[in-house]
Structure formats: C-alpha cells, structure tokens
C-alpha cells in the first residue's frame, strides 16, 4: 500500500473566518453607533436649553420653581430630582427586606416549594406591565391611603409602594442567586458551632452575601428611578417639594411624560424636558458605575 508522504496541510478556511469576523464587527458597530447616537441626541437637545435658550445650569439644578408656560418662564428642577430620589430610595427600603426574606425562604427554608411556587410568582410580578401597576395604585392604594392617613393619598408614599412591588422581583432574584452560591461549608460550620438556623442566617449568611445583595438593591433603585407611567398615576404631579409623604409631588420621569406631548419640538419648554431627560440619563450612568464598582469588590 502506498502511503502518501505528504502531510495533509490544513486548508485555511479564510473565507469563513473573514465572514464571521466582519459580521460580528458589523453587529457591534451597529450597537455602538445606536447607543452613541442616542446619547448624543439627548445630550444635544438637553444642552440646547442652556446654550440656545440661555437657561442657567445652576438654576435648573437647584431652582425650586418650575413654570415653563408662564409669562416669565422659570425652570427649577430641584422638586423633580428630590421626588425621583426619595421615591426610589424609599421603594428600595421597603423592597429590600421583603426581597431578602423571600430569597431566604426560597433557598433555605423550603427549596422545593420555592422552586415550584415562589419562583413563578416572582416572575409573574416581574412580567406585569407598569401601567397595570399604576392603574391598580390609582384605584386601590390612593383611596386606601386617603382614608387611613391624613393627606391626599397621592404622594411619595403611594409612589414608593407601587415602585417597591415593581423592583421586588429584581431584588429577590439577585438575592436568591447570592444565597444559592454561598458555600455549604460556611453554614455547616456555623451549625457545628451550635448556632440555630435563624442565628446562622442573621449573623453569617446576611453579612456574607451583603455585597451581592447591594448589587441587587442598586439595580432596583436604578429601575425605580427610570419608571415613568406607574409613578405618574399615583404621585400627584405638583412641581413642588412636599411637606409630607402624602402630599402631591413630582419626579423627573413623571414630569416628562406629563408634558411631552403638549410641547412642540424646538420650543424652550420642549428643550427643558430634554434637559430633564439628560439628568435621568446621567443618573443611569452613575448607577451603572456604582453597580460595576460593587461587583468588582468581590470580597469573601
């Protein structure tokens, strides 16, 4: 039998490699161009309030009066910034313990019930459209608060409660992942030392998974910060800083959705709304930065 002495040289698959590279490159380029165009558009329109219409940056960020349609227009966005921050943070304060307890239940107390029952429930909560949350808030929560607490029923309290339900799935999912990835040896060591189940959870599990859970909480705050429709329906929308949790106030997102359709592009009122959108976008960048920093810490 005659064997060929030439070794088989691998035929270079140049065409395939090139096609793959070019295709991937084009997709990435498309993505980057889209994102940059969006950022550029929002930034250019948002900054035109200061450049073209002559509004002072400091006035926008710290001013208390928002009167774009009056005879002497004033553009003070501080009530909106305060409203956005207060509702998001309060929503996180409400949702974080609930999320953590739900995660503990799903991972520690009854994993089987957790997987078959709680998991679909959490996913259902995540899938409900935000306008449904807003409508339920307007129809149920606002009258309830009006009867129970002194005030108008609308306001930061109602907004935070609705937002808490919306960010609960986010916080719970991340907390569940954090708890499930805990090394079993940690808990077993704690039991071996004589700790009870609750002591283990409270003193070992919670502090150890705290960094990962903070990621979930910040992600939830970012989501709550950007929520528009549900908040607009229950927050009352008066452009003032409230004196109580049950007084009408406004957030950056609700201010935009409320007035957007009534303004014409190019007018100063429209540009002012774009400036609010620019503030929102910058806050999103800040949140993303915080989340990446928290993830990078990765201790324990």
């Amino acid at each position: 039998m005659k064997k060929s002495n030439d070794r088989e040289v691998a035929t270079p698959h140049l065409a395939e490699e090139w096609v793959g590279k070019v295709y991937t490159f084009i997709c990435i380029l498309f993505l980057i161009i889209t994102i940059f165009s969006m950022v550029y558009f929002v930034a250019s329109k948002g900054l035109s309030t200061f450049i073209v219409n002559g509004v002072n940056v400091k006035d926008l960020l710290t001013g208390l009066k928002w009167k774009p349609d009056s005879d002497t227009p004033m553009f003070g966005a501080l009530p909106f910034i305060f409203g956005s921050f207060s509702t998001s943070i309060l929503a996180a304060i409400i949702a974080a313990p609930l999320g953590f307890c739900a995660a503990v239940f799903m991972v520690e107390l009854s994993p089987k019930l957790g997987r078959t029952f709680m998991q679909p429930v959490i996913e259902l909560l995540a899938g409900i459209p935000s306008v449904v949350y807003g409508f339920v808030g307007l129809s149920v929560i606002v009258p309830l608060f009006r009867d129970l607490f002194p005030g108008q029923g609308v306001g930061i309290a109602a907004g935070s409660l609705v937002l808490a339900f919306m960010i609960l799935p986010t916080i719970t999912t991340i907390a569940t992942d954090a708890l499930a990835s805990l090394p079993a040896g940690l808990k077993e060591g704690s039991y071996a030392l004589g700790a009870t189940r609750w002591q283990t959870i409270y003193r070992i599990v919670l502090p150890t998974t705290l960094p990962a859970q903070m990621t979930g909480i910040v992600l939830g705050i970012a989501r709550a910060f950007g929520e528009a429709l549900a908040v607009q329906m229950v927050i009352g929308n008066a452009p003032h800083i409230p004196h109580s949790l049950f007084e009408s106030t406004s957030t950056l997102t609700s201010a935009i959705t409320l007035s957007m359709g009534n303004t014409a592009m190019g007018s100063v009122q429209n540009n002012a709304l774009w400036s609010l959108a620019l503030i929102l976008m910058l806050m999103t960048f800040v949140f993303v930065f915080i989340i990446r920093w928290l993830e990078g810490r990765k201790k324990l």
Partner: protein
C-alpha cells in the same frame, strides 16, 4: 402523540388570539388592506381617490377623527388614513416638518410654534369643544363666578365654605401646564394663567381627571363636555349652564376650536377627507354624538388672539 397535541393547542391558541385581535384592529387592517390595494390600483387610472394620510396630534380630537376616518375609508377604498395621538404639540410639530399630512390641535398653531412655522400651516376648524368646571358630588356648589374660580385656582380660597359649599378643603385636580385644555380653561374661564400650587394634583388624561374628581372629597377640575356624566357635578359658570346651545349663542365662553392643520394647501385625498369632516352628515352626526359641537352651529367666531365676533 404529546408533541402533536401541544402543536395543535398552540395553533388553536394563536388563531383565537388573532381572531380576538382582529376585531379591535379592524381599523388598522382596513388601513393595511387599503394600502396594499393602493399599490396595485395606483397604476389603474380611476376616478377614485388614492393616497395615504397620517393625522396625528390632539388626543381630545382623536376619537372623532378616528371614527370619521373609518367611515371615509369605507367609502374610498383607495385611501388609507392613520390616526395617532401624541398631544397637540406633537401634532403641530409633525405637520410642520412634513411627517404628518394633518396635525390635530386643540390650540391655534401660533400658540405653540413660532410665527414663521405657523404661517405655513393652513387651519381647518372642524368642531368646537366646550369645557365645564366639575366638582365632587359632595361639595354642594352648583354655580361659580369667574372671580371665585380664579380665587380657587390661585389658592386664595382653600375651603369650600368660603364659596357657599360644605366645610371641606378644596382639592384641585389640574391638567399639566402645557395642556391645550388647560390653556383654554385659563384663557376663557379664568382670564389669567395660574401657577401649579403646592398640594394640587395634575393628571394628563381627562379620564383620570374625572376619576380623581369623582373619588376625592372636595375635588374640583375641568373636563370637556363629552366627558361629563353622573359621577361628577358640572358647575355653572357665572350662572350660565354648560350646554351646547349656550356655547353656540356665545353666552358660555369656555370653548375652543378643534383644528386640523395642513402644511400649505392639502393634496387631493387630504382635501377630500377634510371636506368630509366638515360636511353636514358628519357635523350633525358623529360630531354631535361624540360630544363635540359642530363649527357651523356656532353663532360667534373667535380668532387666534381671542377676539370674539358675531
């Protein structure tokens, strides 16, 4: 066996969903069918109209334009009309930039666009919408003078007992400051622009305003006549009842034109649609039954600066 069962169930589900969706999407389907017809019938020279029209803008006018457009498309299968909302400002911007053929607006174009752009637009006033102040049923006031309304909306009067009602705190339910409805109310009922007071509630949709006014004790707001029903009390203005006859003869001043703007003179299909909108049949039919007032019924006219002439 199991696989084919699942496939059959999935098919049945998607078909029934499509059938349900079909009823509500009939307008869009008609529009699409007309559009495809349009492409094929464009070549055949016919006396029928053809073209596609986009009308966008005011949500107050949208229900009327939507209903009339469906009837128009039934009569002229070569034309496809799409009606969108987005607000008066959006409508004016889109028609001025050529993205829409018709811009629906509750306000004159001069109030939202700069004068150069507004001068390019041609106004077609297709209906009149009137609005009334409404209060919660427990308030007990059925007439408010202009001065009382101004005091309420500027915050000077904060309790209903100061204007003859119950001892109850007044809760203002307003529209956003950029809303055309609010601009009309402020211009013709109050005579002055008002600030957004602390503690006032603002909602963008008239439906939400009605809901809040009917549920909140001591609430006051304002709605177009087509929204009035038993859940809220309509208040007389200076002793004049808010109804169609009083608006037509000019004794009730809180009304505004509904405008459909085109950029320059409209093309054939758009002109035919606008002529259809102001035809007798529609003005005395759909316009009245949907709660608007026919422009032809008005005995007084008003221009962009607010001057009223008989």
């Amino acid at each position: 066996m199991k696989k084919s069962l699942i496939v059959t169930m999935a098919l049945t589900l998607s078909l029934s969903l499509a059938a349900c969706g079909n009823n509500t999407n009939n307008g869009a389907n008609n529009g699409n069918a007309a559009a495809t017809n349009n492409a094929t019938t464009n070549n055949t020279a016919s006396a029928d109209l053809s073209g596609s029209i986009l009308a966008s803008g005011s949500t107050a006018l949208q229900p009327l334009v939507d209903q009339v457009s469906k009837e128009f498309m039934d009569k002229n299968s070569g034309v496809s009309i799409q009606v969108q909302g987005g607000g008066s400002g959006t409508g004016l911007t889109q028609v001025s930039e050529g993205q829409a053929q018709i811009g629906n607006s509750d306000v004159f174009a001069e109030e939202k666009l700069d004068s150069a752009k507004a001068a390019e637009l041609v106004d077609h006033q297709v209906a009149v919408v009137a609005m009334a102040a409404v209060t919660n049923k427990d308030v007990g006031v059925d007439n408010l003078t202009k001065q009382q309304l101004v005091d309420i909306f500027t915050g000077k009067v904060t309790n209903w007992k100061e204007v003859g009602g119950k001892d109850e705190k007044i809760q203002i339910v307003n529209r956003p400051s950029s809303s055309g409805t609010r601009a009309t109310f402020e211009k013709f009922a109050l005579g002055t622009k008002t600030e957004d007071l602390e503690g006032s509630i603002q909602e963008d949709a008239s439906g939400t305003v009605k809901k809040l006014v009917s549920e909140t004790p001591g609430a006051i707001g304002y709605l177009a006549l087509s929204y009035l029903d038993d859940s809220v009390t309509a208040v007389k203005y200076e002793g004049v009842d808010a109804n169609v006859d009083n608006v037509a003869n000019g004794t009730y001043p809180v009304w505004a034109y509904e405008h459909m703007y085109t950029k320059g003179e409209p093309d054939a299909a758009t002109k035919a649609f606008l002529d259809y909108m102001v035809s007798e049949e529609i003005q005395n039919g759909d316009v009245v039954e949907m709660g608007y007032i026919p422009a032809s019924k008005m005995e007084v006219k008003r221009d962009a600066l607010g001057n009223v002439t008989k």
